[in-house]
């Protein structure tokens, strides 16, 4: 639940999602769910020339199971709050 809550805080921020097939997509985080499925809007593919079929895609749904990384803007992270939440979560288990 920690990462789900964490991503909910990041809704509206610009992120880059890198998939396991090496496709990287930059966009605004629209929503996230318990499976960490991601919805992005205003999307642009990094390295557009390699993925011509993605040219007109501006909104997409990304299945959580295929995400390798979610790259975040550094100022979107409050490290202390994250640490506290992680300790609380660890204690709860």
């Amino acid at each position: 639940m920690l990462f789900f809550s964490y991503f909910k805080e990041l809704v509206g921020k610009e992120v880059t999602v890198e998939l396991k097939n090496d496709l990287a997509i930059r966009g605004t985080l629209l929503s996230v769910d318990q499976y960490l499925n991601i919805k992005l809007e205003n999307t642009r593919v990094v390295d557009q020339d390699k993925y011509p079929h993605m040219l007109s895609v501006r909104n997409c749904f990304i299945r959580g199971s295929v995400v390798r990384y979610v790259l975040l803007p550094p100022d979107a992270v409050d490290i202390d709050i994250l640490h506290d939440a992680t300790r609380r979560e660890a204690r709860g288990n």
């Binding site: 998939l19 496709l23 499925n37 079929h53």
Partner: protein, 128 residues
């Protein structure tokens, strides 16, 4: 499964906002399927109407019609909404027939196999 109200449709991560839209579905095996979303479930299983596979080889492409498709969610990488206002593909790409694209696919596969086997032979020689 409760029905999402109109406000929730845009904010939640359900695929409900994609219903009846023309979509591109990227699959784990590299295929790109286009179609209209009829139905979905919590596993991202998806039913596409008027589905076709967009086969792209270099600058050539072909849309191979498939009809009504049910896609098992575990194979889905991404579901993208195709913006009607924009070109779906760069202008320099050429649409060809299915026979042509299958020939191009085979040629690309043969080239990849050839490169693979040549690399194996070089590795065997073990240059430092």
């Amino acid at each position: 499964m409760s029905w999402a109200g109109p406000d929730e449709l845009f904010l939640s991560t359900s695929l409900a906002s994609f219903l009846d839209k023309k979509l591109i579905v990227l699959l784990r095996d590299g295929r790109k399927l286009l179609g209209t979303l009829c139905s979905f479930d919590q596993f991202a299983n998806v039913v596409l109407q008027n589905a076709c596979e967009r086969v792209i080889v270099g600058e050539l492409y072909c849309d191979v019609p498939l009809g009504l498709y049910v896609i098992r969610g575990e194979n889905v990488l991404l579901i993208g909404e195709l913006d009607r206002e924009r070109d779906e593909l760069p202008a320099h790409m050429t649409c060809v027939s299915e026979t042509e694209i299958r020939k191009a696919e085979k040629a690309e596969r043969d080239l990849k196999d050839l490169k693979g086997s040549m690399r194996k032979r070089m590795e065997f020689l073990d240059f430092d």
